[in-house]
């Protein structure tokens, strides 16, 4: 390989290494563990201080606004988790009783979950098969 090509290769290496570095740093900052409520209970102490994502169905009638915070309960396979949302962005429109929500935040030592971000999936009716309920009835 000629020297000029070598210089190009050197440039390429610099770019790749820089990208790797930024990628690694961003990865450390942005990673979150996706856990079910059951796994969260099992993790216990190990879950403290980690960024956790947890999903569940919002239990009917548990959404209560208290000042800036929003309290609610998530349910998954008959396990419950009481949550409080402390983030600043408005809660998504789709977030209401009975929808599947994904919360991102910290598991607190009192066994509750502090959500900094909430994502709510579109109301489940958009995903349910329309015909199945009627097809068996009557």
């Amino acid at each position: 390989m000629r020297r000029k090509n070598l210089r190009v290769v050197f440039g390429v290496i610099v770019v790749v290494v820089a990208m790797g570095y930024f990628g690694f740093a961003g990865f450390q900052e942005g990673k979150a563990y996706y856990k079910t409520i059951e796994e969260l209970n099992e993790m216990g102490e190990k879950a403290y201080g980690k960024r956790i994502k947890v999903a569940g169905i919002v239990t009917e009638g548990t959404i209560v606004r208290e000042g800036k915070n929003l309290h609610f309960r998530l349910e998954q396979n008959e396990l419950g988790l009481s949550c409080v949302y402390t983030g600043s962005a408005p809660v998504p429109d789709t977030f209401k009783d009975g929808v599947e929500a994904v919360c991102e935040g910290n598991y607190r030592e009192d066994g509750s979950f502090e959500a900094k971000k909430i994502q709510a999936k579109c109301a489940s009716k958009y995903q349910s098969k329309y015909g199945t309920a009627q097809a068996t009835g009557h």
């Binding site: 000029k4 979150a32 563990y33 109301a123 009716k125 097809a135």
Partner: protein, 676 residues
């Protein structure tokens, strides 16, 4: 009508099977009539898919709720434009739309080359038809939009037809004018890349690996790239005005899905130039365009399969397996083909210097590919980590932002520098001539900005580069216009028009680059975002930045499609009244879903963005969320200019003599290739 649609889909399937057989056999046996009949079958498949698309439109327009798909995504009181847009509101319809666009493109390719006798085109059409067949398979047998509702009574074997009195309604978030055009535009981009990739594969199959295929598909690649880019920006615009979280891009898997092929497509458009001019990077180009094609299919798969959780993905379904199988088969076949044909793909020259056009193009490719890989990694990491470690780990926006800020700035730098470097090697004298003034002026501007209060490093560098790149582009225009004025004695306007018209690829490219610069200015604004939240009853006020908002009225209203609560906010800036804003909270009747309607005051300097987040349960006051988002308008401006530049690049060359000459040159290329 549903039966009619079904029948058309089946017929389309049959003629597509025939098209594939006829085209490939016609090519293998060199029987022209056979290949020709395959081409007619391509037209026929377009005809039949069009009929079934019309059938589905008709079912929506007449609110035929016996059809499950119509009942699920439409309702009687939905405005007509949204009834028609509900066509692509769900999975089955979107997939049918894909097929429809693909068959239309296949028909256009057939028509364009109707007088050209070429193995390359025949095989390319065959490959496009294979993709069509895959999607028709899904349309017919797995995700059929014409499925009907029925009730199975006890004792009866046959279900009785059933039509609910009203449909469930289109998701209110999709009831927005942009949602009528965003999905089709995006699909035109996705599907558009099938054509160039099919030609690349055909070039491998037929050994016609000269530059003919690159020349043939240049406009198709640009068109697909343009549509994809505009589609992405429209999607961002929709998220911004409809979702009400104050931003336009969240690195959501669905967004990433459309972004990845755009990145590789951008890399391809640039490296294709190198192949045309220098006969380099031949393997690379084939790899890039096939990767782009596979990423388009992959993107469709990501949004359809529910493999990574996303807020706005469609229902989870079984089609995922078929997509993976198709992608894997096509990928493996392409890799084998490339290896078999490696001898034909040798470069005819190599790099001479790091400060050359070739080398800068290579860095461009490297960065775009790295950017694409980062998005792929970040999007798919939850899947990988679960498969390998058994632990699902997601990667959030900080990962993407960390990588994209430096990468984006490097891209912006290349945008300014690369087009002005010389081929092979750039002398210091030419560097000095092209870059001295832009560099000097933008350094001065950066210093001024620093003292004006822009202290964060990333936006400061972005503004510095934005000014630098704009100046290099302006100088190119000035030089070109000046030269024409001297040489032809033209006026400024004439010289400018002729300059662009006579060198569409070059100056169209500069215009696209200028659009990119504006996009970056828009992105940089995010560093200066502000937000505030408050509970407002009538007469209450809230302050953010220089703005004060007074709530004059809270009002409830009723419309056929939804109920709404509205806050009337009087906005004043530094004490002077500027405008009224009316953010709303709506509850849609058919779906019982609520949405927040954003109200904003948008200027080039900043957007004041207000969201009606909800009614407070204790006080009954409106919870209002406020954002100041500087420079967001520049994004929409930049997107428009990019679209304009792309159109200029695509426009046919002026004068018939020239295009005839072009066609002859292309035919020469094609025939010379055949002898290779």
């Amino acid at each position: 009508m549903a039966n009619f649609g079904n029948l058309s889909l089946l017929l389309a399937f049959s003629v597509t099977v025939y098209a594939i057989l006829a085209l490939f056999l016609g090519w293998r046996t060199q029987r022209r009539e056979l290949a020709k009949s395959g081409e007619y079958a391509v037209y026929a498949s377009c005809f039949f898919v069009t009929l079934s698309a019309i059938a589905l439109f008709h079912l929506f327009a007449t609110s035929n709720f016996n059809v499950e798909y119509v009942a699920r995504y439409s309702n009687r009181d939905l405005p007509m434009s949204y009834k028609l847009a509900a066509f692509w509101g769900g999975q089955q319809g979107s997939l049918l739309f894909w097929t429809w666009v693909l068959t239309i493109f296949a028909a256009i390719v057939t028509f364009q080359s109707r007088r050209r006798r070429s193995d390359l085109v025949t095989v390319a059409l065959g490959i496009i038809s294979i993709t069509t067949l895959f999607f028709l398979l899904l349309n017919n047998f797995l995700e059929n939009p014409f499925g009907r509702l029925g009730i199975l009574h006890e004792g009866n074997q046959q279900p009785m037809p059933f039509a609910p009195s009203d449909g469930r309604g289109l998701n209110p978030l999709l009831q927005h004018p942009i949602m009528v055009i965003h999905p089709p535009v995006l699909f035109l981009g996705y599907v558009g890349f099938v054509v160039p990739a099919a030609f690349a594969l055909a070039a491998l199959v037929t050994r016609e690996l000269g530059n003919a295929w690159v020349t043939l598909i240049r406009r198709w690649a640009l068109l697909a790239w343009g549509f994809l880019g505009i589609g992405i920006i429209l999607g961002a615009r929709w998220a911004y005005v409809e979702l009400g979280w104050g931003g336009y891009w969240a690195w959501d898997p669905v967004e990433n899905a459309s972004f990845m092929p755009w990145l590789t497509g951008t890399a391809f458009l640039h490296s294709a130039i190198i192949q045309e001019k220098k006969n380099m990077l031949k393997v690379w180009n084939v790899v890039l365009i096939i990767a782009t094609y596979l990423l388009c299919i992959f993107g469709t798969f990501l949004t359809r399969s529910g493999i990574v959780s996303s807020v706005h993905a469609f229902a989870e379904s079984e089609v995922g397996v078929y997509f993976i199988a198709f992608i894997a088969l096509t990928g493996v076949a392409s890799i084998i083909l490339i290896f078999v044909r490696l001898d034909y793909l040798k470069s005819e020259s190599s790099f001479d210097s790091i400060v050359s056009r070739e080398a800068s193009f290579m860095f461009n490719n490297l960065v775009f590919l790295g950017a694409c890989f980062a998005v792929f990694w970040g999007t798919m990491y939850p899947v990988f980590s679960e498969a390998i470690q058994g632990e699902k780990i997601t990667i959030g926006p900080p990962f993407f932002n960390k990588i994209y800020v430096p990468l984006g700035l490097f891209i912006l730098f290349l945008t300014g520098v690369a087009p002005l470097l010389a081929w092979r090697k750039t002398s210091f004298k030419s560097l000095n001539k092209n870059f001295f003034w832009p560099l000097a002026l933008s350094i001065v501007a950066a210093i001024v900005l620093f003292f004006a209060g822009v202290r964060q490093i990333a936006p400061l560098v972005a503004f510095f580069l934005a000014i630098f790149v704009t100046l290099t582009i302006l100088i190119e225009f000035f030089r070109g216009v000046g030269a024409r004025m001297r040489a032809h004695g033209e006026s400024v306007a004439n010289a400018l028009f002729n300059l662009v018209a006579k060198n569409k690829r070059r100056y169209g490219g500069y215009i696209v680059h200028f659009g990119i610069v504006l996009l970056f200015i828009g992105f940089s604004g995010a560093a200066f975002n502000q937000e505030a939240q408050g509970e407002l009853g009538e007469g209450d006020s809230i302050t953010i930045g220089d703005y004060t908002l007074v709530c004059e009225k809270l009002e409830e209203k009723d419309t056929p499609n939804y109920y709404l609560v509205e806050a009337a906010l009087a906005v004043s800036k530094n004490g002077k009244p500027v405008t009224m804003l009316y953010p709303q909270k709506r509850v849609y009747k058919a779906s019982e879903q609520s949405t927040s309607e954003v109200a904003m005051r948008s200027t080039l300097r900043e957007d004041l963005y207000t969201v009606f987040a909800g009614l407070s349960q204790e006080s009954g006051k409106a919870v209002i969320q406020l954002y100041i988002n500087p420079l967001v308008s520049w994004l929409w401006l930049g997107g428009t200019i990019m679209g304009l530049g792309t159109i200029i690049c695509i426009l046919p060359d002026a004068g018939t003599t020239r295009s005839v000459r072009g066609r002859k040159a292309l035919d020469r290329l094609l025939t010379s290739d055949e002898k290779m």
